[in-house]
Amino acid sequence: MENFANTASNQSEMPFALVQGEPLTVIPQDLYIPPDALLVFLEAFEGPLDLLLYLIKRQNLDVLNIPIAAITRQYMEYIELMEELELELAAEYLVMASMLAEIKSRMLLPRPISSDDEDDPRAELIRRLQEYEQFKKAAEDLDALDRLEREIHLTNIEIPAFEIDMPLPQVQIKDLLAAFRDVVNRAEQFASHHVEREPLSVRERMVSVLEKISADEFTSFYDFFDASEGRMGVVVSFLAILELIKESLIEMVQSEPYAPIYVKAKS
C-alpha cells in the first residue's frame, strides 16, 4: 500500500500538469478500465484528511498556515479526477470539499486586526488535520514496533512426550463451528477483494512499458504517460506499471519523498 500511495500520488501530480490547459481528448475506444483496479487510486488515500495532508506536505507547507485557496483548488482537482473516472466517491470527500469552500469564502472577509485563533476560519480544519496526522504517525510507529510473526518468533521447544503425561485439550462442537464460521467469513472477505482479470489493454500496455525500459539505465516515470491519450490512457499506463511492480518485473526508485521517480527493469 505504501508503494501504491507513493506512485499514486506522484502519478496524479503528473497528468494534472500535462492535461491542464489542454482540452480533454477523446477517450480511446480500446481502453477499458476495470472498476476494481481504479479503487487503487482511492485507496491510496485513507480519506479526505489524508489527501489534504498529502497536498500540504508535498509543498512543504506548515499545517498551521495552509493557503486555503490553493489547497482547495488542488483538492477539487483530485475530486474531479475521481468523479471523471466514475469512482464511487465516499461522501466524506464531498463534505470536506464544501467545508473547504466555506473556509475559503470566510477567509476573504476582512478580519479584525487583533484576531486570535478563534477567529481564524481555518482553526477547526487545522485542529482536525493535526489530530489526524498525530494518529497517522502513531499508526506508523505502531507498525514499526517489533511484533510477533514478523520480528519476534516464539520458541517451539520440544517437550519429550513420553516423559510427561499431558492431558489432551477438550473441544466442544461449538468451538469447531465457530472456527469454521470464522475461516469461511475470512475467506469470503478475501475473495471480495480479488481484482478481476485485467483487460487486454492493460496487458498490452505492460508489454509496451517493458519494451521501453532497460535494466541498466533509469527511465523517468513521467515518460510513460502521453497526455494526448487523455486521462483514461494515463490511467491504463499507471495500472500497467502497478501490475508490473506487483509481478516484480520492474523497479521504482525515488531518492526521497516527492522527488522524481525513475523506473528500471528488474535485473
Binding site: 498556515n65 465516499a90 493535526q130 505502531l142 510477533l148 520480528e151 520458541t155
Partner: protein, 194 residues
C-alpha cells in the same frame, strides 16, 4: 531453594509453556514442595536468567501477560527462512484504527471515524476483535449506547510490550498561534490572487 537450582527449572517451564508465565503462576507450581521458593526468589532467578541469555540467540522478555522465552529479533533474517509463508501485513486503515483504540481507549467507532475523517467498516473492528487485539469495554452512556473499545493483553503481547506506557509517544499538537506571523502574509496575497 537457591537461584542456581531455580534457574534451570524456570528455563524448563518457560520453554515448555505455550504462553507467558507470571511470577504468581510459577509460585503456585511449587506449592506443597518441601523446598518452596518465595516470590522474590523467583523474581531474582528470573532476573539472572534474563542476563544469562544476553549472549544467546534467545531472550527472556517480559510482556503484558508475563515472561516468555523468544527468539531475538536480530536473528529474524535466518529464522524467517525456515518458513515459506510471509508474515501477515495489515492495511493502513486497520493500523490507524488500532492506534486510535490503543491511545484513546475507551473509544467508540464514531469517535474513531471523527478523527480519521472516514467511516470505519464493521469488518475492520471484527478483524481486530478476531485477532484478539481489541475488545469491548462496555457501552457509552449516550443515545444509541455505542460500544466502547479498548486493547487487550494479547495486543500488548503481540507488539512485544509490557504495558500501554511503552507505546511510542504521540507527536505533539501545536497551537495555531505558534506559526510565524510573516507567513500569514503569503496566505493573504495568495487569497487575493485567487
Amino acid at each position: 531453594m537457591d537461584s542456581e537450582r531455580l534457574k534451570p527449572i524456570l528455563e524448563a517451564l518457560l520453554a515448555a509453556s505455550d504462553k507467558p508465565l507470571t511470577i504468581n503462576t510459577i509460585f503456585d507450581l511449587f506449592v506443597g514442595d518441601l523446598e518452596q521458593p518465595g516470590k522474590d526468589d523467583i523474581r531474582q532467578a528470573m532476573h539472572e536468567l534474563a542476563e544469562k541469555y544476553n549472549n544467546s540467540g534467545l531472550e527472556l522478555k517480559q510482556v503484558a501477560s508475563g515472561f516468555r522465552l523468544q527468539v531475538k529479533p536480530a536473528y529474524e533474517t535466518w529464522v524467517s527462512r525456515l518458513w515459506e509463508q510471509k508474515p501477515p501485513r495489515y492495511s493502513r486503515a486497520l493500523m490507524e484504527t488500532l492506534a486510535l483504540i490503543a491511545y484513546r481507549q475507551p473509544i467508540t467507532r464514531g469517535e474513531i471515524e471523527d478523527i480519521r475523517g472516514v467511516s470505519v467498516s464493521s469488518n475492520m473492528v471484527k478483524t481486530l476483535q478476531e485477532r484478539e487485539w481489541v475488545k469491548s469495554l462496555g457501552h457509552k452512556d449516550v443515545p444509541g449506547k455505542p460500544t466502547l473499545y479498548g486493547t487487550t493483553r494479547e495486543f500488548l503481547d503481540y507488539f512485544n510490550l509490557k504495558s500501554l506506557n511503552q507505546l511510542p509517544t504521540l507527536a505533539e499538537i501545536r497551537d495555531l498561534d505558534q506559526y510565524h506571523p510573516e507567513l500569514a502574509f503569503t496566505e493573504k496575497s495568495e487569497t487575493s490572487v485567487n
